[in-house]
């Protein structure tokens, strides 16, 4: 049986990356405006209004789609930039916006009823009831699932809802339910929900002494290794900590999500769009990962049942050269 076609959704932090992703075989790219309205609000990233218009024109010429991420939560008393981002996306001719904030969804649904709405992973909608609420109230057409559901759970959810299912396929692994994590603001004052950043670079410092090298976040040592071992970026939940006399990666090891080996299972579960994470990544990275997933999807659609592990093909693109299928396998929990 021909598996259902996956839509390959690739990240684009810059116009150059967007073009590279599309040329590498992305069906869809997602990007954000250069402000606090999207969850990758880093200096040097993202699109101006004019760049967004050009991006949509370029993508459409290649038969590809553009999703605009407006997926932080609008600031109290200052919702203007989020409303403006929705207007920009609409006027640029974007194919959809992906949002998490009920205020942003409400505004978009009311003001632009023909604008296609996707529910961002930051909305933490992990049950059929939650997804149905957003579908009924705002007419969302697609949900991006939190990275805490197993494949059977995704299958159950997909069978019960009338919206498309997008799942994370590759890249950073959020250990906590997205949208329900304040760890970053607790330590640094800036958070994914409000500022679009997690463990932001301005709070990071690296030191080395005779024995160790360490990475700190707001002065707290999050990573520490001997000189012969690499230390990763000090993302809070992937740090090394102590509890009850044990020192370990108590929440998660520094690893990346890689689903190359479970694509058939994801297809069977009803996932129709695969999302590659990483708008903060460089052009070469996005190009390489997109091409690898394009090939894997094409092989799958051609009925290639060769189950030799493909995950290794992207090992050098993963954090600490290690990958995981995360919560997709229930034992992860």
């Amino acid at each position: 049986m021909q598996p259902p076609p996956f839509e390959l959704v690739a990240p684009a932090g810059t116009p150059a990356t967007l073009k590279a992703a599309i040329r590498a075989g992305a069906d869809t790219v997602y990007c954000g405006l250069r402000d606090e309205t999207n969850a990758r609000n880093f200096p040097g990233l993202n699109f101006s209004e004019a760049e967004l218009r050009d991006a949509v024109e370029f993508a459409h010429a290649f038969g590809a789609r553009v999703i605009v991420a407006i997926n932080t939560f609008a600031a109290a008393g200052h919702t203007g930039p989020w409303k403006n981002a929705v207007r920009c996306a609409r006027e640029a001719g974007a194919d959809a916006i992906v949002a998490a904030d009920i205020g942003v969804l409400d505004h978009a649904a009311e003001r632009y009823p023909d604008l296609r709405l996707h529910l961002s992973v930051q909305a933490a909608a992990g049950t059929a009831e939650a997804v149905e609420f957003y579908a009924r109230r705002f007419g969302v057409k697609r949900v991006v699932l939190p990275r805490i559901l197993s494949i059977p759970e995704i299958g159950n959810l997909a069978a019960e809802v009338n919206v498309e299912i997008e799942a994370f396929a590759f890249g950073g692994l959020c250990v906590m339910t997205e949208g329900r994590c304040h760890l970053s603001s607790f330590v640094t004052g800036r958070s994914p929900n409000l500022s679009g950043v997690c463990s932001p670079a301005e709070a990071v410092s690296y030191t080395r002494d005779a024995e160790y090298k360490s990475a700190r976040l707001s002065g707290l040592t999050i990573q520490r290794e001997n000189h012969n071992k690499p230390i990763g970026y000090p993302t809070l939940c992937k740090g090394k900590f102590s509890a009850g006399g044990q020192t370990a990666h108590l929440f998660e090891d520094p690893v990346s999500l890689n689903t190359l080996d479970v694509l058939p299972e994801l297809a069977d579960a009803g996932v129709t769009a695969l999302k590659i994470e990483g708008r903060q990544r460089g052009k070469a990275y996005v190009e390489r990962v997109t091409r690898e997933f394009r090939n894997a999807i094409d092989r799958l659609m051609a009925g290639d049942s060769n189950r030799v592990s493909q995950a290794a093909a992207l090992d050098h693109m993963t954090e600490g050269h290690r990958s995981t299928t995360g919560a997709y396998r229930k034992t992860w929990r």
Binding site: F73, A74, A75, A76, G77, H78, T79, A100, D101, I102, G103, V104, L105, D106, H107, A123, A124, G126, T127, A128, E129, A130, F133, Y134, R137, I148, L149, E153, M176, T177, G179, R180, C181, H182, L183, S185, F186, V187, T188, G189, N193, L194, S218, L220, T221, R224, C237, K240, F241, S242, A243, G244, Q246, T247, L250, F251, A327, K330, W332, R333
Partner: protein
């Protein structure tokens, strides 16, 4: 005269033995100055069957003692049993606290409190929830009083409840950290979370405590303490201060807050009077002033 700021007791996050739970709520009913108590398992659906009948009895006793008892829904229901428990709470005619947006599917406009785990950060989102029946809002813990004030200015009729005491609930996962700590997974967890009635402290490799885990939940190590005077709280629309249950003498904690909110003691006196009652942890309040949550400021 302006109504006094209410004191509420948030839902218990921790896995306490049923007898401890029964005794705890009995004392709250009989001896505390708390006006409103949220009951229900919000962190881990695996624990619900262990405590359900005890909580039903506790809610009845609280009501008989003149408190308002409000059932809270699970933060992140996953399996069938958890989802149907949430749906059945949602059909209650009485007010409930909603901690997952999915609970609104069966709510049909009946009144509810938006719990701090719902991502309501602005006046537009709150207005949309009001259409769905929201009658009270407990903002996410990372919101500053200045941001809360901006929402209040736009929706002045909505009573707001601010998180005032306890380890801050900072994150929720599908993964159980107590199980992982014991080299188990969630499905075979053996309820090790019971060993830590206030969560298990997590330190950096330098030995600086800063977090705690409690099953699927990650909390602050420090105890959040809102020492903003009632005059300033009222100006930002705060109608109630929420105390989160811990294994300290919560009756005393509530009494100290009552004195403070009635302007009988100063912020520093509140802090000092609770010294023995804050789990021997540092106090923090950074979020209220728009700072990192782990900081403390005398304001």
């Amino acid at each position: 005269m302006t109504a006094p700021i209410e004191l509420t007791l948030g839902p218990l996050f921790f896995n306490w033995p049923v007898q401890t739970l029964a005794d705890f709520y009995a004392r709250i009913a009989d001896e505390s100055v708390i006006n409103r108590v949220y009951v229900g398992e919000v962190v881990c659906g695996k624990r619900s069957p262990l405590v359900e009948s005890t909580l039903v009895d506790a809610a009845e006793r609280l009501e008989r003692a003149g408190k308002t008892a409000v059932w809270s829904t699970l933060c992140s229901p996953t399996n069938k049993r958890e989802r149907s428990a949430t749906a059945s709470l949602s059909t209650f005619d009485a007010e409930i606290e909603v901690n997952d947006i999915g609970a609104l599917a069966a709510r049909n406009g009946r009144p509810f409190t938006a719990g701090p785990m719902l991502n309501i950060y602005n006046e537009t989102a709150l207005a949309a929830l009001q259409d769905e029946g929201c009658t009270r809002w407990c903002p996410p813990v990372e919101m500053s009083l200045a941001a809360i004030r901006a929402v209040h200015a736009a929706r002045p009729d909505m009573p707001i409840e601010v998180f005032g005491f306890g380890r801050l609930p900072l994150a929720h996962s599908g993964r159980c950290y107590h199980a992982r700590f014991h080299s188990l997974n969630k499905d075979s967890c053996r309820y090790f979370c019971e060993e830590d009635p206030d969560g298990k402290t997590v330190s950096t490799v330098d030995g600086a405590p800063f977090l705690a885990f409690n099953g699927l939940q990650t909390l602050s190590d420090g105890v959040h303490l809102a020492t903003t005077p009632s005059f300033d709280l009222r100006r930002v629309g705060i109608a109630a201060v929420r105390l989160s249950p811990h294994s300290v003498d919560m009756v005393r904690v509530a009494a100290a807050f009552r004195h403070f909110l009635d302007d009988q003691i100063a912020p520093l006196e509140l802090k000092n009077s609770l010294k023995a009652d804050v789990l021997d942890r540092p106090v923090i309040n950074g979020y209220l002033g728009g700072r990192p949550g782990m900081e403390w400021s005398t304001q």
